[in-house]
Amino acid sequence: MNGYDPASLARAAAALPGSSLDYEVGSWRELRPVHDHRPAPCHIHCPAGEDAQAYIQKVQEGDLEGAWATIAAFNPLPAVTGRICPHPCEEGCNRGRFDEPLNIHAIERFLGDMANARGWRLEMPPLAEEAPEVAIVGAGPAGLAAAWHLRRAGVKPVLFDRYPLAGGLLRTAIPLYRLPRQVLDGELERLFDAGITFRGQMKLGRDLFLNELEQEYAAVVLAVGLQKPRPWSVDGAAPGDLRYGLALLEEWIDVGAAPLEGKIVVVHGGGNTAVDVARMAIRAGAREVHLVTTRALPGAADAIGPEDHMQAFPREVQQAIEEGVVVHPHTTPARLIIRGARLKAVELAAIRAFKDERGRTKRVTFEGTERVIEADVVIPATGEIVDHEGIEMLPRWRDYLASDRFGRIEGRPGLFTAGDASGRGGSVSAAVGDGRRAAMAVLLHLHRIAALPEEDAEAVSVEALQLYYFDHAPRQEPPLRPVAERIRDEKEIEPGLDAAALEREVQRCFSCGNCLACDNCWNLCPDFAVLKTEEPTEDGSCYVFDYDFCKGCGLCAAECPTAFIRMVDEPTPAFGGAG
């Protein structure tokens, strides 16, 4: 033993010096620490299923491409969602209970843009000659996401759309100043490069028929969105030249003009379409723009519940107001004042929202609150419904196609639906998530997976974190372009983060529920029972517990800032078994 000669000890020579490593104090343990990766709230709150914690970690580690790939494994459109998603992830973000939430969408956008600029691609399995073909009708975000996930599983997707170009509402309705089309094109290029086939100008009910698709393809996904405006009138009256909001918006985006210059415009509706139409009117040179909605402003105190708020995303409403749109909340058009076929004025009345005995939201107009505003144009934007042409025979839920959470349509094996058309939509990220779930159901139908993914586990709460170890730091948020400038052109109004701001922003992430590699457990274990590994282990962290020496004190779990360590009962060794 190290050249040690026991005989040189005059006394007590019987005792060979030994290390305490010979004595495994792990036998004292009643509880054992384990690494326990639980989802962060940003992950649970993302309708597209993205795990922000995971990709922010990659950015922190300097692996930008890996970070993007982590997103793209769920969402093929991060440069799009990074811009226009209402980012519920940020509402969920635990950092919001500490100072301000992470600017998750800006990080996502940075990565999405970099992927497009650098031509990053996700690795795909080759498409086998005999790979099954799946028809997807509708090349909006839901259809694109379904195609992406099918392709990644080695299935051949064929996308059909009535329009010549893919993108759905992203191409036809979302204003350019919020989503430059080269961003969309960058994302689409990657999808088509991956071997997803697109066939434009193919309209279901005109060029395509459901029964033929069902015969020709191994499965069919209907991702047709909501295209038909809800019929609109006020007590049966409407101006002769009435144009619906979505159609006007599409025309404006397509040809770059809308016939609203110098007009007083009243937009009716409280959703995204209404707000975008109102902002279009401002940009088209309208004299005044009024937005009339029966709902309350986002976050307003007089709302009777969350369902009473305008459905439009709060950020968009706020920007519209900044740009000069006059919003009339809890108001409805009560009468149109028409002379000849032309609109002269609109009579508005105040609305009261309340809950009836069964808890349903009801709205009544208040007699005596009527007032008249002069108006040249009224534009209805009260929502769109599914165009059921060619799919009349399918079961419905309200005006949508009825299906389960994975888009399966009862009584029609092999037929699926996803996105806005399913009634589970409302945003790009929701459509993307829905498209992915439908793809999973298709894969199950084709026996390419054994089971559908389970519901997400509960997220790590802010109370579980050790916030003591973090310092306050401001959210990185580049300012929007000034109003006077942004309403004059089509250029994007929200700038992205630069690399330095990105770096500052990702450092703010708590890494909820996953290892932050902070060394606390390694530094604080009184028994040196936490060892650092050179390469990440199976659980992704670079630490292991040495159960030979861990006494189970629980200190590491109590001081893990991210709640990644949990104490569990020590498994009792089988009778007679060696410990």
Partner: protein
Amino acid sequence: MSKTTVLDLRELRRRQPRFTGMDPGHRACQGCGQSLAAHIVTEAAGPDVIVANATGCLEVFSTPWPQTAWRVPWIHSLFENAAALAAGIETALKQQGRPTKMLAFAGDGGTFDIGFQTLSGMIERGHNVLYVCFDNEAYMNTGVQRSSSTPHAAATTTSPAGRMRPGKRHLKKDLLAIIAAHHLPYAATATVAYPGDIKAKVRRAMAIEGPTFLMIHAPCPLGWVHAPELTIKVARAGVETGLTPIVELERGKLVSVLPIREKRPVTDYLRLQGRFRHLLGDDPVAVQEREHLQALADHNIETYGLLAREGDVRDSVTAALVRRGGAIR
């Protein structure tokens, strides 16, 4: 557990990217603050040291015959003479022209009480020794008897809380002031709640030629009667209430303090520990003793100026802040 894993972990332990002065397998209680503190000190001091250890928990739990947890030369002689032992070895080393640094380790009993005389002499004679007192505020190794470091009103086996008296009658000795009166080059306090701060202070002391003194507040789950996982939280509450002032002195003069981020009432500290359980009720004695301890904490805060001032840049080492890749340095 399979043989290969055992071998792998032993090999991995050998390759850990830091120096360790101690190995596991020692017999400290679960969550022992003193064990943690000794690990941190020896890591920061490095391999070129000799440790003279007084009798006490650290000595006993680290050297269960015929094993030792020490990976540096280590010697034990008596309860009362760690400083004298270190001073003697230091003198011998000097004679031999060897630059090895002497460390003296002792508990609060071995420092505040029985070893106090040899400590004072070692400092007075100017030996090149870093003396570290692991302050767990009682004689723990022999079954939690009160020492002159035990805080006022804490219950120990020899100062029980009962009808006649609510725990220890006397005050905690202000040992730091006595040490400061020796006008030694460097004296400091630290706590296991801030390992980065301990390491910085050890390195500072190691670089000084002459006597230096470091007192580390080290919760003892057994004697303080708290759950073993709470060791760090108890220690941190001591700091944030003002009961554990963390300071540095040079030549007896205060040169820096670990500022209190958010001042908390002393009950936040007392609540966590069974040794103060008798102080949490509504009876007049408990109320009065709580007020007394609060006054002592406030006195510390005022004497040392412990409250962080507006605009103070937070020193991230002492604040124990973390981010990916470890503590922020």
